[in-house]
């Protein structure tokens, strides 16, 4: 292992010349207020903060709350499905089915719009995107705060939906049912509309920040891959979300005024709604997964202690996914009166999307090959991601194949597919990122052992929950039904059991992290020896992130980060210019002591 032998030489080098060790100035944490702040001033300092990190932390709390809420609804769905007969959600079939419709709809809508879409970009992205650029903040801090409050308003609308007559249209709001059901479609659609603008604002902010606020030495191809992923996501957020917004406006008008755009009873075309909806929602699945991939691209090289393999391929594949994602929405409509020609074209295009996805997976694998892999919790999640996302992506190909999809459409196979990509992909990546960046965000170390146990439980629970659903789907179990035939019972019970294992794992992970806030050891500035800029400030960072401008080196070269037993973390050493003959444009003397 080349990197290790090099570390050795550098260790000696510090011994000879301690001045080459990069000193990171410490300062007051962004989480605290100056002494003497009263309680209400402190509350105000959070509510009106323009600090991207604080906004990110508030987002983090918000999305975790949404996740909990969505998770409870998932539980209702799973418990009802323990038996093939109605029971838990209602005595009669009618009653159970009505409640079941509400439960899966609210589960899906909350998870998609309130949790997954904002999770990585708005929480982790908000905190780390400017820091990875060495910037003080995002380009539009006020818009950033507005985006958070829009998210809150959207959440209030959802809660209002729950407290009124609920929602039973499915998260897709398909017409004509959504124009005729008596549940609170208008409240929910307005909520999604508002959340859409929250998402657009976040995306817009990120595109502008990356475009205009990169430090001088950081060209596009020297950016950390996290930024490429978030950037591609942001482009989709800006360009796809407005189409959903106008569709929902039309839906609200349809319900209130009966304008006859989507309602066949009035001469409208319900399939048009599906086109509009998927024109947003297929790209939106990439809004969900690209940030996940972005996190994984950061985590894998750090814990493999190896330069990321195929940097440019990973970078371009993010952009390719973002662009191709706009061309495949028709694969959700193979059975919705789509012409044979259109179906074939959409099917073919769908296959092309898998190419950039596969490129990423292969590059991560190759990065790990012969690396010095450290099985930290973050890395364990990243490995789980690779496994689960691959299954999710491959089963997407089954669904993209026309003839197969005619059989599998609207069965549990689809449910399993998208949970493997959304939960096995995005959520797991979110957890990987959370564990990776936790010490930087909050300045504390969590218990590695229990974090890894939690990861294992999540992994096992996840597969137990969702793998049986692939089999159920191929056997013909349709989605969105509260009751089913005897023969499906065993697999459903496995799945419900898995839900509880998964839930336990998630609660354990949460507990480990939350306990660390109170009991955790103080985190070193760079506990994992990562080379991206956010690790070149103190943990937790100060309000302005960097007290001195950090040197922008390569984000994936770990040779200059050596383990310092005193700090229990890594420190950066300046390359020895005479000995290593580093490239000429090496550091213009960053601050050292």
């Amino acid at each position: 292992m080349i990197s290790q032998s090099r570390q050795h030489t550098l260790l000696e080098a510090i011994g000879e010349d301690p001045s080459r060790k990069v000193h990171i100035p410490q300062g007051p944490s962004y989480l605290t207020n100056p002494p003497g702040t009263t309680f209400w001033q402190a509350v105000g300092s959070w509510m009106f903060t323009l600090d991207h990190k604080r906004i990110g932390v508030m987002y983090l709390c918000g999305v975790m709350f949404a996740f909990l809420l969505g998770g409870i609804y998932a539980g209702l769905v799973r418990v009802e499905l323990w038996n093939g007969t109605p029971g838990f959600l209602g005595e009669s079939l009618q009653q159970a089915q009505n409640n079941y419709n509400q439960a899966f709809t609210l589960h899906g809508a909350i998870m998609t719009f309130l949790f997954i879409i904002p999770s990585i970009p708005a929480a982790l992205g908000n905190i780390f995107l400017p820091m990875m650029l060495g910037a003080k903040d995002v380009a539009f801090p006020r818009m950033n705060l507005a985006s958070f409050y829009l998210w809150c308003t959207g959440a209030v609308f959802f809660v209002a939906t729950l407290l009124t007559s609920g929602l039973d249209t499915g998260w897709t709001f398909y017409t004509p049912y959504s124009t005729t059901t008596s549940t609170s479609v208008i409240l929910a659609t307005l909520g999604v509309f508002i959340l859409g603008f929250s998402s657009i604002f976040t995306g817009l902010n990120f595109v502008v920040t990356v475009n205009t606020m990169r430090p001088k030495g950081m060209t596009w191809f020297k950016m950390p891959l996290f930024l490429w992923g978030i950037y591609s996501t942001a482009i989709i957020q800006v360009l796809a979300t407005p189409v959903l917004a106008i569709t929902l406006v039309l839906l609200v008008c349809e319900r209130t005024l009966g304008i006859g755009i989507f309602d066949p009873a009035k001469g409208g075309d319900p399939v048009l709604f599906q086109h509009f909806f998927w024109f947003y929602s297929h790209p939106a699945v990439y809004i969900m997964i690209l940030p996940g991939m972005a996190v994984i691209s950061e985590v894998i090289p750090v814990y493999s202690r190896k330069h990321i393999f195929g940097y440019t391929f990973i970078a371009y594949s993010s952009v390719a996914i973002a662009l191709l994602g706009f061309l495949v929405w028709g694969h959700h409509m193979f059975t919705s009166t789509e012409s044979a020609l259109a179906a074939v074209i959409f099917s073919a295009l769908t296959f092309t999307v898998s190419i950039p996805s596969a490129i990423k997976v292969f590059n991560w694998l190759t990065t790990m090959y012969k690396g010095a892999i450290h099985f930290n919790a973050a890395m364990c999640y990243a490995l789980a991601f690779m496994f689960l996302f691959t299954i999710g992506g491959l089963t997407g190909l089954f669904l993209g194949a026309l003839s197969v999809d005619i059989h599998l459409h609207d069965t549990y196979f689809v449910v399993a597919h998208f949970h493997y990509v959304m939960m096995g992909g995005t959520l797991i990546a979110f957890l990987a990122g959370l564990h990776h960046w936790w010490p930087k965000m909050f300045g504390v170390m969590y218990n590695e052992f229990w974090a890894r146990i939690a990861c294992l439980l999540v992994f096992v629970g996840f597969n137990l929950t969702f793998f049986p659903q692939f089999i159920l789907g191929t056997q013909g179990m349709p989605r969105r039904y509260a009751a089913y035939k005897e023969e499906f019972q065993f697999l459903h019970q496995l799945s419900t059991t898995g839900y509880f294992v998964l839930g336990t794992g998630l609660f354990l992970a949460a507990a480990v992290l939350i306990i660390s806030l109170f009991k955790g050891k103080k985190a070193p500035d760079n506990p994992w020896g990562a080379a991206t800029l956010e690790w070149k400030c103190c943990s937790p960072p100060t309000h302005h992130n960097f007290e001195v401008q950090p040197w922008t080196g390569s984000p994936y070269v770990y040779d200059d980060f050596v383990y310092d037993p005193d700090a229990e973390g890594y420190v950066e050493v300046l390359p020895d210019l005479q000995r290593d003959a580093k490239p000429a444009e090496a550091p213009a003397a960053p601050a050292t002591t």
């Binding site: 009618q94 089915q97 009505n98 419709n101 060495g134 003080k136 903040d137 995002v138 380009a139 539009f140 801090p141 818009m143 004509p176 049912y177 124009t179 005729t180 059901t181 008596s182 657009i200 817009l204 902010n205 595109v207 502008v208 475009n211 205009t212 606020m213 430090p215 001088k216 800006v238 360009l239 796809a240 979300t241 407005p242 189409v243 106008i246 569709t247 406006v249 039309l250 008008c253 349809e254 319900r255 005024l257 009966g258 304008i259 006859g260 755009i261 066949p264 009873a265 009035k266 001469g267 409208g268 075309d269 048009l272 509009f276 969105r480 039904y481 960097f546 001195v548 401008q549 213009a588």
Partner: protein, 366 residues
Amino acid sequence: MADAATLDSPETEPQTADHGHGDHHDHHPALEHHFEDLDQQFDAGKLGMWLFLAQEVLFFSGLFAAYTVYRWANPQVFVDAHHHLNTTLGAINTIVLLASSLAIAWGVRAAMRGDRYTILTTHVFTLGCAAVFMGIKTIEYTHKWDEGIGAGNFYKFLEGQHVHGDWMFADYVLGLTVGSLAVGAVVSLIGMVLASNGSRVWGWCVGSVGVSILSLGLGIVIAKCIMLTPLEAEMAAAHGDGHGAHAAHAEDHAAEPAHADVAHASEEGHAEAEGEAAHEEPYTGPSPAERMSFSGPNFFGIYFIMTGVHAVHIIAGMIAILWVIAKAADGQFDADYFLPVENVGLYWHLVDLVWIYLFPLLYLIH
């Protein structure tokens, strides 16, 4: 993008060669703390605006897509139904908006030169044009309402019959006109008094609001005059026969339970939305035989949504312009810093551009 800034202010060329922190030579009051210099701030702000405009275009694109799909499938309905739109009013509104765009572009140019007074006058003029536009729209909309041409469920128009409600907008137009002209004049005067008494910001703001109200009245007067000219009557007579499609729209179609579905049962549903009596029947969608064809009400559904969403954008633009007027009156802009003027100008051009498409697509169909 950057040349616009540097063109007029070569002194704001980036002076800090290093990726510096801390000391800026540039202490412009408008420079925000997280930007390095005004150039960076300008680039960011402008890119942000362009992205916002891209977002707006996609927002409208859904409407245009719906329009295209339905027009493709039902060309005759579009041709027939659009005769209820008054081309002259649409044309005048187009001209008014073009004039406003010209004015605001002029204002941006003035801002680049640091000419504060011209920023103010051009923006007030733009605001006036916007209000004239809204005045004309008001008459267009209310006139349709009085004819029974509303969106969707509010469509009561039947060929050859006058569907007068008990309540007609027409009865109030005179009052509205006189009221807005009078109120507008008074408010404008107050604005002028304020401005001459030294409170420049309040003066310009109140004055602009006054001009808007006044122009709204003016728009109403213009629209009314045009509607009363014989041209309109002729047009109506010439095309009065083109509404076969409406007749086909039988209002009472009781919903037939095509497929009773446990999952999708609902009590109120469509029947209520239509205001019909079929309450006991759970609506589950029309059977193919009952499926209504696309007709006049659908056209006006599209018309009202497209123009309505556009009008909302006009109103938002007016608020933004008012904001620029307030900032300009406060003397916040100079040749180094005029980003808000430029951005609001860009937004206004987009809103105009949308109308440039709406006008032929809705009013000039053949």
